[in-house]
Symmetry: C2
Subunit: 801 residues, 2 copies
Amino acid sequence: MTDLDAYGSDSVLDSADLDRLVDYWNAANYLTVAQIYLLDNPLLRRPLSREDVKPRLLGHWGTSPALNLIYAHLNRLVRHSGQDVLYVAGPGHGGPALVANTYLEGTYSEIYPGVSKDEAGLRQLVRRFSTPGGIPSHVSVPTPGSIHEGGELGYALIHAFGAAFDHPDLLVAAVVGDGEAETGPLEGSWKGVDFLNPAHDGAVLPILNLNQYKIANPTVLGRLPRQQVTALFTGHGYDVLWVEGDDVPAVHRAFDAALRTAYTRIREIQRAARAPGAVITEAPIWPMIVLRTPKGWTGPHEVDGILVEGTFRAHQVPLAHVRDNPAHLAQLEAWLRSYQPERLFDKEGALIAELAALAPSGSSRLGSSSYANGGRRTEALRLRDWRTYAIDVDPQARGSQLHEPTRRLGRLLADAYRDNPSTFRVFSPDELASNRLDAVLDVSDRCLVAAIDPRDDRVSPNGRVMEVLSEHLCQGWLEAYTLTGRHGLFATYEAFAMVSASMLIQHTKWLQEASRLAWRAPVPSLNVLLTSTCWRNDHNGFSHQGPGLLDTVVPLSPGVVRVWLPPDANTLLSVADHCLRSHDHVNLIVADKQPHHQYLTAGEAAEHAARGGSVWDWAGTERTLRRDADIVLAGIGDVPTMEILAAAELLHTFVPDLAVRVVNVIDLMALLRSDLHPHGFSSAMFRALFTDSTDVIVGFHGYSRGIHQLLHGRPNADRFHVRGFMEQGTTTTPFDMVVRNQVSRYHLAQLALEFARVTPAGSDRLVSYCQDQLARHHAHIIEHFEDLPEIRDWTWANQPS
Amino acid sequence: MTDLDAYGSDSVLDSADLDRLVDYWNAANYLTVAQIYLLDNPLLRRPLSREDVKPRLLGHWGTSPALNLIYAHLNRLVRHSGQDVLYVAGPGHGGPALVANTYLEGTYSEIYPGVSKDEAGLRQLVRRFSTPGGIPSHVSVPTPGSIHEGGELGYALIHAFGAAFDHPDLLVAAVVGDGEAETGPLEGSWKGVDFLNPAHDGAVLPILNLNQYKIANPTVLGRLPRQQVTALFTGHGYDVLWVEGDDVPAVHRAFDAALRTAYTRIREIQRAARAPGAVITEAPIWPMIVLRTPKGWTGPHEVDGILVEGTFRAHQVPLAHVRDNPAHLAQLEAWLRSYQPERLFDKEGALIAELAALAPSGSSRLGSSSYANGGRRTEALRLRDWRTYAIDVDPQARGSQLHEPTRRLGRLLADAYRDNPSTFRVFSPDELASNRLDAVLDVSDRCLVAAIDPRDDRVSPNGRVMEVLSEHLCQGWLEAYTLTGRHGLFATYEAFAMVSASMLIQHTKWLQEASRLAWRAPVPSLNVLLTSTCWRNDHNGFSHQGPGLLDTVVPLSPGVVRVWLPPDANTLLSVADHCLRSHDHVNLIVADKQPHHQYLTAGEAAEHAARGGSVWDWAGTERTLRRDADIVLAGIGDVPTMEILAAAELLHTFVPDLAVRVVNVIDLMALLRSDLHPHGFSSAMFRALFTDSTDVIVGFHGYSRGIHQLLHGRPNADRFHVRGFMEQGTTTTPFDMVVRNQVSRYHLAQLALEFARVTPAGSDRLVSYCQDQLARHHAHIIEHFEDLPEIRDWTWANQPS
């Protein structure tokens, strides 16, 4: 039997253990090289010929030997301790290393039976690596045991901590390359330990592979004096264990000792924190390992007389001209044979039993960890009926109440915390209270594993509300939290969601690819609440005004991307309930935090959200006039919807004979044709909302052309006249924001008259009125620094019908 | 006279100095509070009434006292040493502090004469702060002396180092808040010292204001044990000078001593490095100051019985209900009067002479620094005639040569390094050689201020080519390098440009706002080369494939944004030459690094780029057939242009009677109407390219809907059928990438037949041929892992006319 705490003391590596471990490592290194180079002859049962070599050589050798070494030692840790381990490979270019190891341990063949544990399977393995129709060259979605794509660098530790939160039985071994260690997000992620509670969270063991070179340059950390590196990580809160060298047995012995020391300390920290009555008063000093080994270790030392091993030249494919250069071919064969594959694999081509026994078995294998296939661990989120939090809207007095929509959402989230005490978290860059979501703090404190001061407000090491001033950490922690099977929400100022936009893109790519793999179970969606939006960052100014994330996600996978713009609190609640229950999506929800008018009853909100868009008869005049619309007004987003409704009211007042239809769209992607997006309105539905030919005035939350790109291909798309954010902003008043961007009621009403099918009596008066009001606004705002009183106090009261 | 080295020894603060300094600080604090609260009565010459208070209170008090303290001490340093100092305020919410100081020193009134140095001017000052039509609440473009917008946090140190490069006489004092210190980009930016050459660069003095709280939470750094903070910054390469406390004179004295120590060390480092024969062999240990003072220091200690000073509650407006709550009003008055304005300002309302003398004069004032108005320092970039680097294209054999376009660009950049030895730099995330720009290394090494190893390739402390594995650093260093008057290029993998997309947005906003201020001189453009594009990251896989930055920038300011997609090397050279000479723009240049066909002579390339788009008669059949086009084929971007040309060739071969026009667009924004973008094609030009009604098949580099949004409003926009990146990718072959995204020649040729005005003889044969070729491709790629030979070896040889 294994014993979580036995590993440290009872498992010292003896000389026979060491030999076997090195052999296992050799097998992994061998398969790594084989994947990069070979098409055939995977065990070198015959002399290597140029036909055995791929026509195009892709892959990254440099980082792989270290990734293989770490994997072999983690196998040993798992076998001796029974510890659940998740391997996060930051140097994701080392795809072949992770594939090799999951093959050696048997996981790969179980998931991909065509890649069997024999010579035929090995031939398949090498052929599929980095080839069209095969598997990508980086650690990626098809790699068993991974939640972390190799490619865009910087997120390994972020993902490691996100996976460890609320997984007390998990140890995440996070390998960090010294190249990616230069990125901002990675440097910002060491502080995860200040948010990791040793009692209810798992552990993260960072292993920095200091191989000293990146693609073409020395790394910054690789060139710092050793004591400076130690100081840096001491400052980040770690106890640094160094393992250095290029002597194979010595490094393996040293790494074994460091890993045992690290694991023993982790267990001590956890035992202390988990003892009855234990109180955490400061961040524990967690261990980390710095592994300083040559880049491309055990690979070609020199090529064509130039030093390769231990330099940046080992980064990718050290021997690049194998097919055309017999000397390179010979050197490749010698390199491959240096691992003695004939000793490592049996007659059938399977790893010899003595070595196969070094891997853990079943779901203990790193490649088979359910943590890396989080859908298998996911429990449905327990959510109460969202109508509990709904606002009671009287259909006879729509718009008469002002509420902060996100404050209602906060209550829903608070109950989600109550009912899912270890599978739900909210992540925010220090804006939770600002964004009116602070009801969650009635259930759980903010998390900070540090000495707490009486001046702090609901902060504690036991808190599970995650506030850190880093969009990268919030986004990435949630990514990993959901990929390992839990639920959550990232709430952020709309403009600053762009800070982590590239991460959102990569996560969308991950979900898109995962949906193609049956063995990857669906995981909870990544939910992003964009609030404090461009329209209502009037107090903070231009840098805080930017709806650009919509434009970033709209072109991405239609199978993954969902964008919601609820116009009021009840629709926000309905949408949030839907999103929090969903799987495999990236849900953007755009909803402001300031007081807004409330339009729909809970029942109507549910229907509206499910449909994606509706005609709001109560706001139009088609029914009263018993005539089809002369003009359609469509609102998309909370503030523009308010302006659209106010414009409809103006039209009703001044030009009562004009047949006006008011439409609201809540599901942005529904504007796309249904063959382009699963949520796309059918042609019939689109026609029912917008007719085929009547002009449509759209007030949109984001950049107006974002709507035009979606509407392309719809009937007479030219008839849509969209006003949205025109990149005009500053510190000003809310109404001035819509004026500056020409989406005010006065702009929209005039636009409606311009494009209506008829010119009703009263048009001139309305145009004059609008122009006067705009002129008054400009005069008033300069003098009084506030919105016109009639705007400030406007409510949707004079319902036209 | 001042003496750069005298400050340390000769300027010890005596007790009278201290009193004056504290008074100056009080004046700045007073004006800070006045800006946040007052509409009128700026010197409290009468009792404060509710009418004196703004109807809406905006601004950030918490960080301001520290910003004011630092400013006052830097004034003293400048006066005593004559040192050129640039003040970068990371806690940008402290806008009123910087405004107050630039007013006290006189800069503000010189730039904005309406804000005169008297009571009337003071009234203007407080009225314009954070009000519509006034100035934003953050440090922003209208703030004299600033190159750094307050708002999106994390870039203060990045901008500081970017400003210091190649400015040997400059000291950048960079104030970092402990909130923003949590962001990834900020944490990643301390390593600037490893790239700062004390001989030819200036100095950066980071001042961390550890006020321990952010909006609602304690900061991570604020809660770490002191020795851990010291270890962290020691690890980053700094010598930490601590200044702590809340006793006013004691803190001022301590800060004075720390600043003198820091400055003395900086001068020692510089003297040593600048001595004749000096060789730099490692990064010097630069000083930094940690200033640990209470948040909202000197403000209300308690409000309504709740502690405010020294807590997160001091972050914004400590007294929030002044107009409605007489007790708050009284407390505000007491707070304002605590600074004794009657002692600080004279009868006219000007700062008393004794205090005014504490500020430096003329261009030595921090607010008047030419470094912060870099256009005033800008020298034109010396560029040789780009035709020197051009490829000799034979108009009779277009497309017969393959060249790596960026390699040619590398030669141009190399000469730019030669001819502008201290005003031009290239920034790259370790991809310079990968992106074929390594010719610059023949002129200048890569920069790393560290011990150099024989294994390194052209790396040196004296190098001025900037390679660091951080898009944030590359982008932000270049931002500041250009804002302070120098020229440069950020070259990056296209997909990973998204990592710093939010910075690009903020820089675009900066340039947009700066263009409205006559006193801000035009600065060199920010040039971004997007290479290793989605189409040719076939080797790296899906994570490396993403053209999304185009969608990010297209909605931004038309006055600033320029997007170029040169189809070959000569057009790239022409565009690069144009962009490098331009001012006040954000230029995106999308050009792949792999071998591509060459189409245009240098002369044609120049004309094509200047026009923005052209009909390529030589590739179409209109002339031969003497008939207007039945179909237009348009290429935008290098790979899609190749596929468009190959499709035209197929059409010519199979359906010679079809009149085909081939168009190429190089200037993406020219697709917008000319009333929407200064580069927009006139209606006549648009018609000349695309006709009014003929269908157009577009092969586009980016997401196809990006084109539709630009075309909205053009005649019959529905006739444009765009194929672009459809978010389909993996590790595969180049041709498979265009097949997966349906933009291959076989897709485009079939699309042309589908939408052509006529159905020419041979259409069926061509459709069959295309379908066969696609079927063969799929079979071939699985078997051979490479492109079909006829694709691989295709050249634009069979010119139709």
